[in-house]
C-alpha cells in the first residue's frame, strides 16, 4: 500500500496545475474534469512523465434531454486510475484526437465516432469499426435516442467494396478460414512469401452488447455479459459483479470470493490450454493439438462438476456465487490439477526443446519491450515482452488480496516466450488453486443484493486470461445500468499483430495471430495498418493509416 500512496502523491504532483478540478472519490481513483481544449495538455503531461498507459476511452450519453455528453479517458498505472472527464455539448460534440501523443488510441476514437457520433478532430482514421459496411450515416447506437427501427428506414451507407490493387498480391484470411475459429478479416499483402502489409477488419461478431445492457436489469445483464465470450465467460461476469457490488456497497462473503478465483483459475487453465492446442495446430503440429485438448477435458470436467456446464458455467450472482465447492469436489480438483501439472510440464518441455517446433516459434514475431509499452499490450502478450502488467499483481481484487500472485515474465518477446509465459502461468495457477482449496474459508455463499443499485459510477479491472479486462459501470439509481463499457484485452493486443506481421513469412501469420490469443467475439473493433517495406517505422500508426481502410468485419 505504500507504493500506492507514493504513486498517488506523484500523480497529484504531476497534475498540480489542475488541482482545483481534481476529485479523489476513492483512494486509488483520481477524477479530473477538464474541457476539450485542455485534454491534450493533460495527456501530454501524463505521457511525457511515462505515467502508466491509456487503458480505455469511454463515451456516455446520459440522457436525450441533457445538453451534455461525456468522454472519459482512463489512464492506469499500477492500482491508480486517473480518469479525465471531458464534457461535450450534445449539439456539437467535438474533442481533439490524442493519437498524436498516443497512436494506439485510434481504435477507441473510431469507436467514439461511430457509436456516439462524437467528432474527434484530427483522428487519423474515421472509418467504421464495428458497425456493418452499410450502416446508415448519422445513426449512433449508443445515443440515448437511438431507435433500431431507424436502421431499415434510413438510406444505407455507400461503401466501396474491398479493392484489390492489380499489382499487389493480397491474400485474405477470414472471415471463414481454417486458422480462425472466429470471424475476422485479415488481408495480407505478399511479395512472394513475405508479408509487406497487413490489415484487419473486425466486427463480424458485433452483437451490440453494450447497448443491450441498458435495456436489461442488473441481474439479467449478468447472463448477457457471460456471453460476451464463451472462452472467458466467468471473468466477464466476475468483472461485472465486482463493479456492481462495489457500487451497491455490498460485501461478498469470504468463501464466495475464494470460490470465484478458484473458478477463474480453472478458466485460465482451460483458456491457456485451448490456446496452446490451437497455436500448435496453426504450426501444423496436430498431435500436440490433440494431446493438449484431450488434457483440457480434465478442466472442463471439473468446471462441469462445480457448475453443471462445460462452458458458460455461470457461477456468479450479484453478491456471491451460486455453487459451493464440496469436499468431494475438492478431492476431484486436487486430482485433476495434479494431472494437469504433470502434463503441462511435459508441454513446456516440448515447446522449449523440440527443434522442429522451435523453428516455428523462436525469434518469430518479436515485439520489443518498448513496442509493447507503446502499443499498450496486455496480459501474457505484454509479459512475454518483459512488461509486467497483471491486474492481479498491480491492483489485487477479490481473493487475490489474501493470495498474492507471483507473475510470470519473459523478456524475449517472440512466440516461444509467449508459449513459455502461458504454460508457466498454468503451473502457477495450479499452485494457487491448491493453496485456495487448502485455505477455503467457511461461511455463506451470498449476501443480499438490492434490486436497485445506488447512483454512481465505478471501474472494475480484472485480469482475464488474455490480459486486463476493463469495465466501466454507471448507475443512475434504477433497475438498469445507465452505461456499461467493456474494454477487452484483445483490442489493445491486436495492434501488436500488425507490428509483428510485416516482414515475416506468410506461413508465420497464423502463428503470430494466434500468438496474442485474439478473441474477436469479445471485441468488435477494426484496425488497419498498411505499411510499405521502406517505412523505417513500420508501426507508426499515423503514417500508415492514411491508406484508408476497407473491410469487412
Amino acid at each position: 500500500m505504500e507504493a500506492t500512496t507514493e504513486t498517488l502523491q506523484r500523480t497529484e504532483a504531476l497534475l498540480e496545475p489542475w488541482r482545483e478540478r481534481m476529485q479523489t472519490p476513492e483512494p486509488d481513483r483520481i477524477y479530473l474534469s477538464i474541457g476539450p481544449d485542455e485534454l491534450l495538455d493533460v495527456v501530454r503531461t501524463l505521457h511525457d512523465a511515462r505515467w502508466g498507459y491509456l487503458s480505455t476511452i469511454s463515451g456516455i450519453d446520459p440522457s436525450a434531454e441533457d445538453s451534455e455528453m461525456e468522454v472519459l479517458y482512463h489512464f492506469c498505472s499500477g492500482p491508480i486510475v486517473v480518469t479525465l472527464r471531458v464534457a461535450l455539448s450534445r449539439e456539437h460534440p467535438t474533442t481533439p484526437s490524442v493519437c498524436s501523443i498516443i497512436p494506439s488510441a485510434s481504435i477507441q476514437e473510431r469507436e467514439l465516432i461511430e457509436m456516439l457520433g462524437i467528432d474527434v478532430v484530427n483522428t487519423p482514421d474515421q472509418s467504421l469499426l464495428y458497425l456493418p459496411d452499410d450502416w446508415p450515416e448519422d445513426l449512433y447506437p449508443l445515443r440515448r435516442d437511438f431507435d433500431p427501427a431507424e436502421i431499415a428506414k434510413r438510406e444505407p451507407r455507400k461503401h466501396s467494396k474491398a479493392h484489390t490493387d492489380s499489382d499487389k498480391f493480397v491474400v485474405p484470411i477470414g472471415p471463414q478460414h481454417p486458422a480462425l475459429k472466429e470471424p475476422a478479416h485479415f488481408e495480407f499483402t505478399l511479395d512472394g512469401e513475405i508479408v509487406t502489409g497487413a490489415s484487419v477488419r473486425l466486427g463480424y461478431a458485433h452483437r451490440g452488447i453494450e447497448r443491450a445492457t441498458q435495456n436489461m436489469n442488473w441481474t439479467q445483464n449478468l447472463y448477457l455479459l457471460e456471453r460476451v465470450c464463451g472462452i472467458c465467460s466467468h471473468i466477464h461476469a466476475e468483472a461485472y459483479c465486482l463493479g456492481v457490488e462495489h457500487l451497491a456497497g455490498v460485501e461478498v462473503p469470504a468463501r464466495a470470493r475464494v470460490i470465484r478465483e478458484i473458478v477463474a483459475g480453472l478458466e485460465r487453465i482451460h483458456s491457456h490450454l485451448l490456446w496452446f492446442g490451437v497455436a500448435a495446430h496453426e504450426a501444423g503440429f496436430d498431435t500436440l493439438f490433440m494431446y493438449s485438448w484431450r488434457d483440457r477435458e480434465t478442466v472442463l470436467d471439473l468446471l462441469e462438476g462445480i457448475s453443471g456446464n462445460r462452458i458458460n458455467y455461470s457461477i456468479n450472482v450479484l453478491g456471491g456465487v451460486k455453487y459451493d465447492i464440496t469436499p468431494e469436489l475438492t478431492e476431484k480438483i486436487y486430482k485433476g490439477i495434479e494431472f494437469l501439472d504433470e502434463r503441462v510440464r511435459h508441454y513446456l518441455n516440448v515447446s522449449t526443446k523440440d527443434t522442429m517446433f522451435l523453428q516455428r516459434t523462436r525469434g518469430i514475431g518479436v515485439m520489443t519491450k518498448e513496442q509493447a509499452e507503446a502499443l499498450g499490450a496486455l496480459g501474457p502478450t505484454a509479459r512475454a515482452s518483459g512488461v509486467l502488467r497483471d491486474i492481479r499483481v498491480d491492483a489485487p481484487y477479490g481473493a487475490y488480496l489474501d493470495f498474492p500472485v507471483e507473475p510470470v515474465v519473459e523478456t524475449a518477446g517472440d512466440l516461444e516466450a509467449r508459449f513459455i509465459v502461458r504454460l508457466e502461468e498454468i503451473l502457477s495457477t495450479v499452485v494457487m488453486i491448491r493453496e485456495m482449496l487448502d485455505k477455503l474459508p467457511e461461511g455463506e455463499l451470498t449476501t443480499r443484493m438490492p434490486r436497485r443499485v445506488k447512483a454512481g459510477e465505478t471501474i472494475s479491472r480484472v485480469e482475464a486470461p488474455r490480459g486486463e479486462l476493463f469495465y466501466y459501470i454507471r448507475s443512475a439509481g434504477g433497475e438498469t445500468p445507465e452505461r456499461i463499457k467493456i474494454r477487452t484485452p484483445t483490442i489493445l493486443n491486436l495492434g501488436t499483430v500488425i507490428v509483428s506481421a510485416v516482414g515475416h513469412q506468410f506461413a508465420d501469420m497464423p502463428m503470430i495471430l494466434a500468438g496474442v490469443d485474439p478473441c474477436f467475439s469479445c471485441n468488435d473493433r477494426a484496425v488497419e495498418v498498411r505499411s510499405a517495406g521502406s517505412d523505417p517505422e513500420p508501426w507508426s500508426w499515423e503514417k500508415l493509416r492514411q491508406y484508408g481502410i476497407e473491410h469487412y468485419r
Binding site: 456493418p132 471463414q176 463480424y204 452483437r207 451490440g208 464463451g230 484431450r294
Partner: protein, 181 residues
C-alpha cells in the same frame, strides 16, 4: 442429382451414392457472430475424447470440399452476406447444421440492433442443435440425425428442410467466385 431410375443397376448405384454420402460427411465451420462457446465445442468434437473422424466427419477449410455447413452464432449484419456466399459456394448435395441457441433464434442477442436472428433467416437449415453451448455429444448427435435424413429420394437442397427462406435464390445458383475469397 438423383434421377428417377428403375433399372436395377441404377438403383444399386443410387444406393452406393447414398451410402458414401452417409459415411463421408465433410464439414465446414462458419461463425457468424457467436461468442466462441459453440465453436470451441465443435473443435472439441474433433479431439480424442469425442473424435468424430471415427464417423467419417472431418473439418475442411474450403467450401468446395464440404458437404455440411456447421454454423454458430446469431447472424450479424456484417456477416450475413458472407454466410450466404459460403453456402452458395458449396456443391450439391449440401446440408446445414445450426449449432447453439444463438444460431437457432438469435439467443440472448435476438433483439440486438446488429443481429438479424438465427441462421435460418439467411440460409435453409436442416438440423438444429440447441444448447448454450451444446455439448460435443449433442453436436455429434445433430450430425448423426442429419445423416439419417440423407436419402436419394429427396432433392439434395431440400433434404428435410422446412425453412423456405430464399430457397429460390440459392437453389441451383452457385457462386463461382474463388472460394473463401
Amino acid at each position: 442429382m438423383s434421377v428417377q431410375l428403375d433399372k436395377p443397376w441404377q438403383r444399386i448405384l443410387d444406393e452406393v451414392a447414398t451410402w458414401a454420402r452417409k459415411n463421408s460427411p465433410w464439414a465446414i465451420h462458419y461463425n457468424s457472430g457467436s461468442c466462441n462457446g459453440c465453436d470451441i465445442e465443435i473443435l472439441a468434437a474433433l479431439t480424442p475424447r469425442y473424435d468424430v473422424e471415427r464417423l467419417g466427419v472431418t473439418l475442411h477449410g474450403s467450401p468446395r470440399h464440404a458437404d455440411v455447413l456447421i454454423c454458430t452464432g446469431p447472424v450479424t449484419r456484417q456477416s450475413a452476406d458472407r454466410l450466404r456466399r459460403i453456402y452458395e459456394q458449396m456443391p450439391e448435395p449440401k446440408f446445414v447444421v445450426a449449432v447453439g441457441s444463438c444460431a437457432l433464434t438469435g439467443g440472448v442477442f435476438h433483439d440486438g440492433y446488429n443481429c438479424l436472428g438465427g441462421i435460418e433467416k439467411v440460409i435453409p437449415v436442416d438440423v438444429f442443435v440447441p444448447g448454450c453451448p451444446p455439448r460435443p455429444e449433442a453436436i455429434i448427435d445433430g450430425v448423426v440425425k442429419l445423416l439419417q435424413k440423407v436419402d436419394p429420394d429427396r432433392t439434395p437442397a431440400r433434404a428435410g428442410s422446412e425453412i423456405v427462406s430464399e430457397k429460390e435464390d440459392t437453389h441451383g445458383s452457385y457462386d463461382r467466385n474463388p472460394a473463401t475469397d
